[in-house]
Every structure is written in C-alpha cells, then in structure tokens.
C-alpha cells in the first residue's frame, strides 16, 4: 500500500492508504476533518473544494497520493482559534448560506479569488465560483458575501497602511 505524508492545515499526517483513496477520503476519514463535503463525487459540484499547494482543487476527483509531500488547506484552516476569518464572517452576516452543505467549497473558491484579486467585480466573483453548485441561495447572497469580504479586507489594508504612514 502506498504511504502518504501530507500537511493539512499545518499539521503533518502520515498513513498507509489504499491506492484508490481519494484526497477527500484522506481528509475526511484519515485526518478526521469532515468540513469538506462529498456532493457529486465526480468533480462537478465543488462541495469538496480544498487548496493543494495554494491552488483550489476538487478533492473528490484527485487521488490522495497526488497530495503526497504537499500542503493542503481545508475549511478547518480558515478560522483562527474561535474567530471566523473575515470571509467566513461576511458569509455569516450576508446570509450567504442556507443549508450550508456547499459552503465549505464556496469559501475555499472565494478565498482563492481574494488571494489573487483584491477588488473583484461581480462578474469575476461569479466566474470564480463557477465550479461550485448551490441549490439553496440562488447565488446572489453568496456574491454579496464575497463582495463584502473583499471590501472589508481592502479597508483593513488601507487602515494598516494609513497607520504606517502616521508613524
């Protein structure tokens, strides 16, 4: 059986796994991190979206061995201690979820977007979450949550820069 060693949210996990193990199964069953969800299991719905070495991937359509010696970021890695990340907080405030099943995947895609585009347009936001399916919200509230997060992160940056100029 192949041996895998990967870092998930900064913590090292090592295991002997069946070669068929999907990355999603490794995350959920071996690491016990059940925030990433299995929706379609064929790489369509995006509920299993995680980051692999900084790029979003669908964990249900990747062999776990592809993550060997790599770093994975899951939804559990977004919040710090008891504090939601600004993006999570904005989803909460803007009612960007209803049943919540797709939310972890949307948050990872949105996180990736905001890491690469500080001021996304609504069209860019919709394009960024094109690979995630939500059956409750009609997407509008999700777009609003991501837009609010982009604005909050931007004003946070401006405040920090203003403070630097002030000193």
């Amino acid at each position: 059986m192949p041996r895998i060693s990967s870092k998930i949210n900064g913590k090292q996990y090592t295991a002997e796994i069946d070669s068929r193990t999907l990355l999603l199964d490794f995350i959920r069953d071996h690491a016990g991190l059940t925030g990433s969800k299995r929706g379609c299991n064929e790489g369509k719905c995006g509920a299993c979206t995680v980051m692999l070495n900084g790029l979003t991937v669908k964990a249900c359509n990747l062999l776990a061995m592809r993550a060997h010696n790599k770093e994975i970021l899951t939804i559990e890695g977004l919040a710090s201690e008891d504090h939601l990340s600004p993006l999570q907080q904005c989803f909460h405030e803007n009612h960007s979820l209803q049943c919540g099943f797709c939310t972890a995947g949307f948050l990872m895609s949105a996180q990736y977007l905001l890491e690469h585009n500080a001021k996304p347009s609504d069209a860019e936001i919709r394009e960024a979450v094109h690979g995630n399916v939500c059956r409750c919200t009609g997407y509008q509230k999700i777009v609003e949550g991501i837009r609010a997060a982009a604005q909050r992160l931007q004003s946070g940056r401006e405040e920090r820069e203003g403070a630097k100029v002030g000193t």
């Binding site: 192949p2 064929e42 979206t49 669908k58 359509n61 062999l63 895609s109 094109h130 690979g131």
Partner: protein
C-alpha cells in the same frame, strides 16, 4: 473503482519501462479529471496506474524557436493560461481554456491528458487539430511525432499504442497577421460542447486571406476538418459578408450525428453555421491586429 497498483516513476525512462512492462493493463495518469471518473464508473479499470506527476520536464510550456510552442503533456490548463505565450495566432487555445470546466478542474487538468482522452465532445482535440499541432510520443521503440490530424482515430481512441506516452504537444509557428478563435455551444458554461468551431485566418498584404482553416467539434467522433468552407475565404478580401458565406458553406458541408440528449442533426447544423461564423469573425479580428 477497482483496485490498481499505483506507480510513480521519477524519470521518463522509468515511465516508459513501466508502460512497456505492463502493456495494455496500465494507464497513464495525467490530470485525472476524466480518467478517475471513468474508473469510478468502472468504464476504465487499469491494473496499473502510472502517475507522471513527478516528471517536471513534462509540465512546462515554452517557446521552441524551430517548432513553435512546446506544451509538455503534463502542463495544466492553468499553467498554460498563466504562461503569457498564447498570442493571437493561438487565440483559439485561450478561448478553449476559458470554457473548459471550471477553475478547480483547470488547476489539475492537462492539455495532454484531454487529448489522450479523445472525448468527441472535448474542446482540446479541436484546437490541436485546427492548429496542425504535432503530438510527440515516447515508447520502448523510441520517440515519434504524430500529426494531430492523425492522432484522433475515433471515440476515445488515439493513434498511441497501449504502451506509448504522450510527452509534448507542439503548436507550429504561425505567419504574422494570423488569428484564431474557438467558439462552443453548451447549455451551461464549462459543459461538454454540443457543437464547437475552431477557425484560423492568415492575412497577407492588403488584408487578403492567404490561408483559412476550420474544424468542427462534437459533430463526429473525432474533430472534423472542413475541406470546402475555408475556400470561401482564401485569396479574397475578407469582409463580414464573406464570412457569413463561409459559415453557410460550413452548414452545407457538415452532417452532425444526432443524439438522444442534445438534439437532432438539423439543430446541430444550425449551430455549426452560427459558431463557424462567430469563430471566423473573431479570428479575423485577431488577424487584423497583426500581432503574432
């Protein structure tokens, strides 16, 4: 998914040896975005999976002065999009990349893998055929180059033998004032195409068309190279009216296969006309920019 032995060669030589050793029982794993789904459905059940992810030299994209753009078979769509090397002549590749699945899939999926998958409704076979790419393969008997037009041999079938590995795709250099474009129709963006069209136009002095080519995808099991329709343009001053005539000629030339999901041959024929026209207009616009 049926059980398989996972093999992870660290050199191309080792990969070639493994494929030669396990012959028809082994499959190469590139991005896996199609193959893994086929394995889950047990449409594919390889006994050995040879994962090429350690072969960094196969994941690069670079300009080769003699042979054009070299795209390593393990180069992801994302890497290709980020390369900045897709000029107006290769515009159809940029167009195709934008409408392949979604960002998460493009982070993993590869041009080489999808060509080897040879799905009749896939996007990449059409553009490599339209650009007359060369597909470079390696097997235990050595290295060979296969013209893209001879690479796709049928439904999910390619000219590769069961032990050969696709290593590079070369997009040949194009003359100045060449533009190309890809248009597809699908019910949702990122879905498999119902019909698609890849067009290329080269302009000479004074704006006369010196070369035109058109490939229609999803109409047949393999990309369909149009023999007649481009003749409506070659040697003539290109205008929007002339492009409409070429699109009509494409409509006359293509007899798409009907299917139970996406519709009749007549319906698809109209899509051929529309998409041929759109892709030619876009290719013409890019050729006029004159930046190769």
């Amino acid at each position: 998914m049926r059980s398989f032995e996972y093999l992870r060669p660290t050199s191309l030589d080792e990969a070639v040896k493994l494929m030669a050793q396990h012959g028809g029982k082994a499959r190469v794993l590139a991005g896996g975005q199609s193959l893994l789904n086929m394995m889950k459905l047990r449409i594919a059940s390889p006994e050995y999976l040879v994962d090429l992810c350690e072969l960094g030299e196969l994941a690069t994209v670079e300009v080769d002065s003699r042979r054009g753009l070299r795209i390593g078979a393990m180069g992801t769509y994302h890497r290709l999009q980020q390369s900045g090397l897709l000029t107006s002549a290769y515009g159809m590749v940029s167009d195709a990349l934008e409408v392949i699945a979604d960002e998460q899939v493009r982070h993993v999926g590869t041009l080489g893998g999808s060509c080897c998958q040879a799905d009749p409704h896939g996007d990449t076979p059409n553009v490599v055929v339209a650009l007359e790419a060369e597909m470079e393969a390696v097997g235990s008997k050595g290295r060979r180059r296969i013209p893209a037009r001879k690479f796709f041999t049928g439904l999910l079938q390619t000219a590769l033998s069961s032990e050969e590995i696709l290593v590079n795709i070369y997009l040949p250099p194009q003359p100045p004032s060449t533009g190309s474009a890809y248009e597809k129709f699908a019910w949702r963006k990122g879905d498999y195409a119902i019909i698609s069209a890849a067009s290329l136009i080269s302009l000479g002095s004074g704006g006369k068309c010196t070369r035109a080519s058109m490939v229609i995808g999803s109409a047949r099991p393999s990309p369909l190279v149009l023999e007649q329709a481009p003749n409506a343009l070659v040697g003539k001053q290109v205008t929007a009216e002339l492009i409409a005539k070429a699109a009509d000629a494409a409509f006359e030339e293509v007899e798409p296969e009907a299917d139970a999901i996406y519709g009749s041959s007549e319906y698809k024929k109209e899509l051929v006309r529309t998409l041929a026209g759109r892709s030619l207009l876009s290719a013409w616009k890019r050729a006029q920019q004159g930046i190769n």
